[in-house]
């Protein structure tokens, strides 16, 4: 089968445009000579097999995407996303999204290879056209599906959504006003990215909000949510917010709080329920437990930062491990994902070289990461 030179050059140019890199950037990062790069882009020469693999590594995609017509990469989705929201995304944000999608692909592949991981796929059929009710019913249904007690507050929402087949990653998005996004990957399925730049409770709510999109916006290829943005009043945004609120703050929990609502009791409750002031204030109002004047007062309150614990950075970590793991988390590498990768390596599912690719590092950097996670590399015979 011969290569379609024009198709290859077109895909390459479109990736370069999406990720805002020049031919010079590519040649410097890959070692492909400028002359070769020019010849490939101008359809004067076919790329070699090496060049295809190197470019796939650089753009973090399956190399077969470049040489086949199969829908192996979420290329159309990212192209539309970057076109629609391009002005809100820096070049670093675009790369963060590209790497996030690569991590989702890797995670989907690794999970497909492991038969003993408990998975609880969840689907929800909407009825009627009242969007808010969809959010409420889906949250209640998911809580039941996950076996939560009536008063149970999910400790680690990231794990909860991963268990139902949504690929959730957190990643620092530089100067972006984007709080999170959902993309339906053609091979990996629903993928949720949470902006790690935001505070811990906000990230928790965003994860639920984006999961709401993943569960309820079945016709959408992607949805972007802003910290404060024009889409805030859109019906699907209201629905996703309702889902998040009802998942984290179910009425049974809030109605049990037989207390007089003061600023102190409100903040104490917010910290205990692991939400910021604003969503708690609106949730209480929706249940008629407080009135509008209290909402205005309470929603401006701040839960002290020291009260906000990240479930993926436990207190038990030493200071140095904590800093290293935080640094990795900012790049999307959660304990759960890194653990899955090392488990797969130890089981013989993937080679050390593939393990390094999946962890976004070079092979020579593996030993250091293995030490941090107390894993052993096996070599030789």
């Amino acid at each position: 089968m011969s290569l379609d030179r024009h198709m290859f050059a077109d895909k390459l140019q479109r990736y370069m445009a999406q990720l805002q890199v020049t031919a010079n950037d590519v040649t410097q990062a890959t070692g492909i000579s400028p002359d070769r790069m020019t010849a490939i882009l101008n359809c004067i020469a076919d790329p070699t097999g090496d060049e295809v693999l190197i470019l796939a590594d650089f753009f973090r995609c399956d190399y077969r995407f470049f040489i086949s017509n199969e829908k192996l990469a979420p290329f159309e989705q990212t192209e539309s996303l970057f076109r629609k929201h391009g002005s809100d995304l820096t070049r670093e944000d675009r790369w963060a999204i590209q790497e996030f999608l690569f991590l989702c692909e890797c995670q989907a592949f690794l999970l497909s290879q492991i038969s003993d991981v408990a998975r609880k796929p969840f689907t929800f059929a909407k009825t009627g056209d009242f969007f808010k009710a969809h959010g409420q019913e889906a949250a209640e249904s998911l809580r039941r599906h996950l076996g939560y007690g009536a008063a149970e507050i999910p400790a680690n929402v990231y794990e909860a959504f991963r268990s139902i087949g949504i690929h959730v990653f957190r990643r620092k998005l530089g100067r972006s006003t984007i709080s999170g996004l959902f993309i339906r990957h053609p091979t990996a399925g629903p993928c949720v990215l949470v902006n790690y730049s935001e505070d811990v409770f906000r990230q928790r709510f965003t994860a639920c909000h984006e999961a709401g999109h993943a569960i309820l916006d079945d016709g959408e290829d992607f949805v972007v949510s802003y910290t404060k943005g024009p889409a805030g009043d859109h019906l699907s945004e209201i629905r996703a917010n309702t889902f998040a609120s009802r998942f984290l703050l179910p009425p049974t929990v809030l109605q049990q709080q037989s207390i007089t609502w003061t600023e102190a009791t409100f903040l104490d409750t917010a910290a205990r329920l692991m939400v910021n002031a604003e969503p708690l204030a609106y949730a209480l109002r929706d249940l008629h437990l407080i009135g509008n004047p209290q909402v205005d007062t309470f929603k401006r309150l701040k839960v002290p930062a020291g009260e906000k614990k990240d479930p993926e950075l436990p207190d038990s970590l030493s200071q140095r491990s904590r800093e290293r793991k935080q640094e990795l988390l900012q790049r999307g590498l959660s304990d759960a994902y890194v653990g899955l990768c090392f488990d797969s390596y130890e089981r013989g599912t993937i080679s050390a070289s593939r393990l390094a690719e999946m962890l976004l590092i070079a092979e020579v950097e593996l030993a250091d990461l293995a030490t941090l996670y107390r894993r052993a590399m096996s070599h030789g015979d």
Partner: protein
């Protein structure tokens, strides 16, 4: 699978890990070249060794990169390009998603040219052994074979292992084991030859 230290295929296409392990010891690399062992690697392996961005770069990594540049310049390590057609063969492999791109390119090249794959990764070797008639070779195998054919002496062992350890490579235990086993095989071969004459 037990290694036969009496035999070593001379033409090797090395993956990234094996390139670093062979170059980790100058004594080992020189002995191999003097025994007519030829090393090649693909463009992807060169990219992974020399160009792929690192989050942090160690002194050992820089040293190995310099050695590879020098070896490539002196044609002691040949860079062999793989073609699109090679990739299309690899694309059919069920296990392609389990291997890194350097390993895939190495296997693709070895399939076409019938060279031996030199890899120190167990998973990659298992795949090579499944699909190719010639089993993959390893750096400890090379080390042991060089003893078997008397290209290394006893005093070289600690030098090779010391050089290997100095640049942070992980095969010390395997090199020790290969050394002992190769000497045992050499002794048995000599005894059996003596018995025949």
């Amino acid at each position: 699978m037990a290694i036969d230290f009496s035999a070593f295929h001379l033409h090797n296409i090395a993956d990234t890990c094996a390139v670093w392990n062979v170059l980790s010891s100058n004594r080992l690399f020189r002995a191999a070249l003097s025994a007519n062992v030829a090393f090649a690697c693909t463009g992807v392996v060169i990219y992974e060794c020399l160009h792929k961005p690192r989050k942090s770069e160690s002194e050992a990594d820089r040293q190995l990169q310099n050695r590879l540049r020098a070896a490539a310049k002196a044609s002691e390590v040949t860079v062999c390009p793989i073609q699109i057609e090679d990739l299309q063969i690899v694309a059919l492999l069920e296990n392609r998603k389990r291997l890194g791109k350097g390993e895939l390119s190495t296997i693709a090249f070895a399939i076409r040219t019938r060279q031996a794959v030199l890899s120190d990764d167990q998973k990659a070797r298992r795949l090579v052994n499944d699909i190719m008639s010639r089993p993959a070779q390893t750096t400890p195998h090379l080390f042991g074979w060089l003893y078997f054919v008397n290209r290394l002496s006893d005093s070289d062992k600690d030098i090779v292992i010391g050089e290997h350890r100095e640049v942070g490579r992980p095969l010390e235990l395997h090199l020790e084991a290969a050394y002992r086993e190769a000497l045992r095989c050499r002794l048995m071969a000599a005894n059996s030859k003596g018995a025949r004459t």
